[in-house]
Symmetry: C2
Subunit: 372 residues, 2 copies
Amino acid sequence: MTSLPPVAVVGPILVIGTGLIGTSIALALTRAGVDVLLDDVDSDQLTLAVNMGAGQVVGVKRSQTPNPTIVVVAVPPRFAAEVIAQASKDFPTATITDVTSVKSGILKQAIAFGADESRLVGGHPMAGREVSGAVGARKDLFDDRLWIVSPCHETGALHHQNVNNLAITCGAVPIDMSPQEHDEAVALVSHAPQVISSALAAQLLPAHAKHIAVAGQGLRDMTRIAASDSSLWVDILTENAGPVSEVISGVVRELQEVLHALQELAGGDQDHEEIIDATLKAGVKGRARIPGRHGNIEAPFIEVAVLIEDKPGELARLFVAAGDAGVNLEDVRIEHVLGKPSGLVELSVKPDVTDALIQALSVRGFDVRGTG
Amino acid sequence: MTSLPPVAVVGPILVIGTGLIGTSIALALTRAGVDVLLDDVDSDQLTLAVNMGAGQVVGVKRSQTPNPTIVVVAVPPRFAAEVIAQASKDFPTATITDVTSVKSGILKQAIAFGADESRLVGGHPMAGREVSGAVGARKDLFDDRLWIVSPCHETGALHHQNVNNLAITCGAVPIDMSPQEHDEAVALVSHAPQVISSALAAQLLPAHAKHIAVAGQGLRDMTRIAASDSSLWVDILTENAGPVSEVISGVVRELQEVLHALQELAGGDQDHEEIIDATLKAGVKGRARIPGRHGNIEAPFIEVAVLIEDKPGELARLFVAAGDAGVNLEDVRIEHVLGKPSGLVELSVKPDVTDALIQALSVRGFDVRGTG
């Protein structure tokens, strides 16, 4: 995002929960000039958020608080429903939204706890970082990201629009999904992959160290998210148990077919290659459906491969050449062969600057190996 | 590798098959000053390898060929056993080795086809590239990589040593494993992960495009290898069906336990979080057993996180600063949040230069966010 997003909401907006996401929303709103009020049961996080310029502490007595137009509940999933319901009671005219990564169950619980469904709109900004807490918050965390907006059956149009405008003001792109559709989508692209990564990584626990020592980049990529915080994930998976179990059932069925074929092959029966081939080919096609390498649907990037010498300063020389040509590098990937960096560097750039980059590198004597 | 590896073999060495691995071995041997003879049924590949300086074409009549000390069979897996057996007959004093990614079956078949077991030693250099053919070959492909050496029961000590020395001369680190142990190790770290990646990616095939559009880096990492060439993988999985099915069985068992717990939870029974937690925790521990981030067991790298502005020239400025400090960057990773590049760049460096790098960046005003 090169310019600031439009300011589509009026304040004050109350953010309850000043962790990574809550504080980042507050910073994005402050950037837009919107008044932000902050609240958190953890006074250290709250003080840190205030010191970062994320907003002002809400009054101790709710009655003394200026009436917020929108309340954003950004607390951990297991507290979300209760906090939503309380906010709905405390601020009887405000639009109430949240940021939790599961929607159906939490919204239903919040309504059961007394939240006013007509003012309730689920939300899920599709951004995060590997660090947590206010300390990791950034005002540009949501720039150009998707922000899923999930209205309830009874949500009023104005409140729905308020949350769309909240996302836009934070720099994001709002995308409507029903709570159920949201939960199915994240089960497929996020929650089930987490379980599968963990199940694979769990196989390494009893393995010989010598066997693990020959691991390459493939296993590293497949088990990266297995290192995630297990307590947070237990909450998420528990909340989204139905949709996640649907996806995992599909994976288990696919694996069982391959397993059966492999066992027959191991037993000497040679007529089972087709089943394995079918799964592999379905995987190639399924993988190809993921839009772009960078999730940027509109402008996929082009990768330019350059072979450089493995010595200090060579990468700098490469990047200076790109910078001199006015080319912004969207991504850099150094090819790893069985874990070891090699001299092949892949630069991702927008398609319209590819030629300029290749020419700039070529005249400086770089060994450009191709694009893809 | 900063200096050339020791020359531990005498030529001539015959390389049969001038694809990526065969030609790279030939180039590594030529670099070491060892005479190399080349053979391939594909005359285009052969000519290309010769033109790249990988060696000389072997005589048309085998009887006119200088007697090779070692024959390296580097043909596709489905032809390997036959070619090994023929080489064993053609060159009755040579050490015979191969480079295929499955060992037990191929060595057994080669012996069944008449190969002399006393001179036969399986080999598997743990290096590769995403490109194939002689055109992708590099003389330094094996520098500092592991090269698994798998002697047969009857292999003579001298021939075993010859293959160790071949690996060393090519710049690699030989590691002994029996053919069975090799196959179990690669089933765990490479072959089973391939199947699992494909099975997950296959779930995307019938999914709604809108659901896939919210995919983040996790799904991308988990399905990257699913894009691999399916025909090559059918061969590998078929050859290593037994060990691969063992690993997949373990993954399926783990997934079924989680699946059962999720289904109970979805049905309203709340007492199943512990089973999910156990799998997630086992995954965290299993993942932690992978040595280093880069597979470099001796010298794991330190990651230095730096926040930079997202504009042309900033990366260059960062890399110039590192180069000026004489620091070689082992890897560069730009943090992607839901697919979008952010301003957080992680530089991987050797531990002993970490302080120098941080100081060099700090005095130039870079926002160093920490190390890990």
